[in-house]
Each structure stands twice: as structure tokens, then as C-alpha cells.
Assembly symmetry: C2
Homo-oligomer: 249 residues x 2
DNA sequence: AATAGAGGTTCAAATAATGAACCGCAAGCG
DNA sequence: CGCTTGCGGTTCATTATTTGAACCTCTATT
């Protein structure tokens, strides 16, 4: 593995924490030598990707990504173009809606509109969505070329709840249904008690770039309800693609 | 220079462009071998920091920083905490106001509130502000320990306009004035026709972490006006620090 | 006073980065 | 058309960087 890959993997480890971390702990966590970890951190800090607390000497994610993100979003305002649609969908269905984008081999949440109801599903911005175990992931995979989707199902699939579908062929069946229907449904496969429906955001070249999903407490969404939500989600997803890519396509 | 540093520098080069760029061009621009450039790009792409256009084969900044930025901002909501103060200041003075943060050895704009007037100064989000030639940079330097400020003035200072102060000692005089007054003023030093006033955002440990600045067309801001703006900017900057760091300090 | 573990550093050994030369392809041109 | 130019991308012997066990120093705990 290249040095760059190792350094970026280290940065990823750092992101998964929601608190600062010491050198030794981080070295253990990322399975790198302490000296190597330190060299990487120093280098990453020079560029602002990592920040060291002056007092505790612990490390955390730096501010540089904020700058890069602004530059990226000035050119590709995916989240800001989508935001009003996400909000409208959240208002319409009364449940938590989240938008994810595929980048760096992972589908990650980039925008969340919380349900206004007291009993609601909480989704963290920045969280990674497993492709086989979330409605967003299924929606994304279902619209990817078969070969590429297969690659995501090649490794053993991780279980997240008792209901997680971890058999690759069973997932393929779900993908076929999703492709036919235009949206995916995931019943408690990621978190017990949560049901989701999601639809992909598809670029003009036919590739999905992300997904729009609604997550509801299972008590509030029977089969008919979730199908209705799915339809609305699919409509909102294509509205986002239309707006973002211009009316063409 | 380490491989990581080279790769991140390459990423920086990529950021400075506002359009996609081909492999050969980018290699020339970043003074790396073509093969090396490609290896770096492939590695960066794996992690989503770089994106290659499937049709043109050109490269651009990827979406991964957006995810990292969200994670960072969930923990340190500097921009979102500051936003209302920036807006209030913009409304009060009727000019463009921008907020910058220091990270990775550069002061970069992270939020802008445009003036509502037709004739206004445009500031790009994500842009890097030279420390010696902008009001923001002077405000930042003035509140940094002398030794560190000195380091920023050690190299030859770049000229951006006929009025740019490029003599280190002259800059030091400006810094002393700024420290005494609590805000900096920059008269056309960065862009001809633009006058700015800025104040640092200072952390509880005494270190400046960024700056708040107002930029106005010089025709609209005489000496008295700019001093008034400076006072308001300094007040807003300390209000931001107070809010962001809690009432302590 | 002794111990454990933290952050950080060193230098010979091991490994990964490097870049000149190469390929195949497409566009521009006489 | 055939030739040239420059593109994106690849190869592999050479070279320079990365690596990590052992080390140091400092602080907190016992």
C-alpha cells in the first residue's frame, strides 16, 4: 500500500472518532507504528488536515477539509441544490430524510433534515452507509452496472442487526426489486426498529452519484405507507437530479 | 519532502483551478513527473479527494472533503456559530463581510456575507488570504506571538497591487498599530480600489484562530468610516469568540 | 522510590517512490 | 493520407524514502 493511502486511511480513522485521541491510541487503532503515525500526523498537520491540541497533545481532524469542501461545493453545489427538496420531502412525509453522496468508495451522509416528530430517527451527517445494509446503499447499488455492484457484494457482508441480509444472492434479489420499482426498502437491516426507503440520484451519464432516503420508526410505517414514501422519495430524487444537472437528460 | 506532503501539495494545486485539468498539465503545474502525478491522483481518487471525469479523463477535486468538513463542523461549528454575527455586521455596515480560519499554514475564507449594494466587493469562499497583504492577515499576525509573526515575514513579500506593503519592517509597524487598536486596516494592499478592516477571532488560550473582515469600495469609506467599521468588526469578532468558546475568557 | 505508560526521537534495514523511455491513440496539418 | 505532436497511461531498473525496534524524557499512579 502506498504511503498516501496509509496516510489517508489514518485520516479516516481519525474521522471515526468523535473525540480527540492520543498518539499511542491512534497508532494502535490504525495498526501503524507509533513513529510512522507521528510522522503522518505531523505531515497532515502541516496541511491542516489534522490539528494537535496544544495542551492535551491529542490529535483531531483539522480545518483544511472545510476549505476544500467550500471549493468543491462552489463548483458542485450538490448538497445546497438538493437541500430544498430534502426539506420538502421531510415536510411531506413527516419523517427524517437524509441525502448521501458516493465518494472514496463509500456512501456518506452529507445532509439531514430531521423529522419534526418527537419520536424520530436520528441520522448523523458524515456517517458512512453500508451498501448492502441500508436503503440508500441498496438504491445506489441497484442502479450501478451489475459488475460493479457485484464487487461490493464479493466480500463477506457485515451484520448490523438481526434482520441484516448478509447473503449476497438475497441482496441481489433486493437489488432487482429496487431497480424494477425505482426505490429500495430496508426493513430494520441497519438498525432495529427503523424502516427506510431510498432512491438514487442518477447523473446524466446513467451513473448514480448518491441517494435520497427516508428513515422512519417501524411502528409508524406499514407496508402501504412505506411504498407511498418510496414513490415520493423517487420523485424527489429525480427532481434533484433534474435541477442539479439542468433540465437535460 | 515526504510523499504525503507532495500528494497534499498536488491536491492544493488542483484546488487552485476552477476547472478540470488533464494529467500532463497538472504534472507540469505541480512540477512532478507525469507517472508520479498519476500515481498520486489514483491514490487520492481511491479516497475520494480527487475525481476523474469519465469522458474527458480530466481530474478535479473530489467529494471526500465535504464529508470530512461535515464531521469537523459537527464538532467545531465555527462557521455556523459565526454566521449570524457575520450577517448582522454585514447588515449594520452595508458592506461585504467575510470570515476566515487559519489552517494548514494559510488563512482561508470560510464564510462570506455579500453587501446588498450593487457596487460591492466580491470575495470568494475558499480563497487564501496573504498574511501581509490583507486586513484579515494583518489582524491575524498582529495577535500571534512575535516570533511566529516574524516567520511569516521572513520570506520576500509578494506584491498584489501597487499599494501592497512589501517591506517587512513597514508591515511590523502596521502590526503594532493593529495590536494597539484591536483591528487592522488595509488600504488597497490586496486589490486596488478596496479598503478593508479586520479583527482576529481569538481563542481562550490567546491564539488567533481566524479573522473577521469587512471589505468596501474605497470610494465609500473615508478614514472616519473605516475606523467606525473597524470598531464594529472588532466587537463582532469578540462576540463570535465569546459565543464559540463559551462565555469564559 | 518505583513503575507504567504517555509523547516523541533515532538510525540501520527494508521497502516504496521515482522518472526516462515507452505504448497506443486522436487531433492537427502539409 | 502519412507525418507529427501531444495526450493519457504504463514499465522497470535505479534511487531515495519509509520503517520500526529500541531508546529517551516526562508525568501520573501506586
Amino acid at each position: 500500500m502506498s504511503t498516501i493511502g496509509k496516510a489517508l486511511a489514518l485520516l479516516d480513522s481519525l474521522c471515526e472518532l468523535d473525540r480527540d485521541i492520543g498518539l499511542s491510541d491512534l497508532a494502535r487503532l490504525s495498526a501503524l507504528d507509533k513513529a510512522t503515525t507521528r510522522r503522518f500526523l505531523v505531515e497532515l498537520e502541516k496541511y491542516g488536515f489534522v490539528e494537535q491540541d496544544g495542551e492535551t497533545r491529542k490529535y483531531r481532524l483539522g480545518a483544511a477539509p472545510v476549505r476544500l469542501a467550500r471549493i468543491r461545493q462552489a463548483r458542485f453545489p450538490f448538497a445546497s441544490v438538493a437541500a430544498p427538496f430534502v426539506k420538502a420531502l421531510a415536510d411531506a412525509v413527516g419523517e427524517t430524510v437524509h441525502l448521501s453522496e458516493f465518494a472514496g468508495g463509500r456512501l456518506a451522509t452529507i445532509h439531514v433534515e430531521d423529522s419534526t416528530q418527537a419520536h424520530r430517527v436520528i441520522v448523523d451527517v458524515g456517517a458512512t452507509l453500508p451498501l448492502h445494509a441500508t436503503a440508500s446503499g441498496l438504491a445506489f447499488l441497484a442502479f450501478l452496472p451489475k459488475a460493479e455492484a457485484g464487487r461490493a457484494l464479493a466480500r463477506p457482508l457485515q451484520r448490523f442487526s438481526p434482520e441484516t441480509v448478509i447473503d449476497a444472492d438475497a441482496v441481489r434479489t433486493l437489488l432487482a426489486e429496487t431497480a424494477a420499482r425505482g426505490f429500495s426498502v430496508n426493513r430494520q437491516g441497519f438498525e432495529t426498529g427503523v424502516i427506510s426507503a431510498a432512491a438514487p440520484i442518477v447523473a446524466p451519464n446513467g451513473r448514480p452519484v448518491g441517494a435520497l432516503a427516508v428513515a422512519a420508526p417501524i411502528a409508524r410505517a406499514d407496508s402501504a405507507k412505506i411504498l407511498d414514501i418510496g414513490e415520493r422519495t423517487a420523485a424527489a430524487a429525480s427532481a434533484i437530479a433534474e435541477k442539479y444537472y439542468g433540465t437535460k437528460r
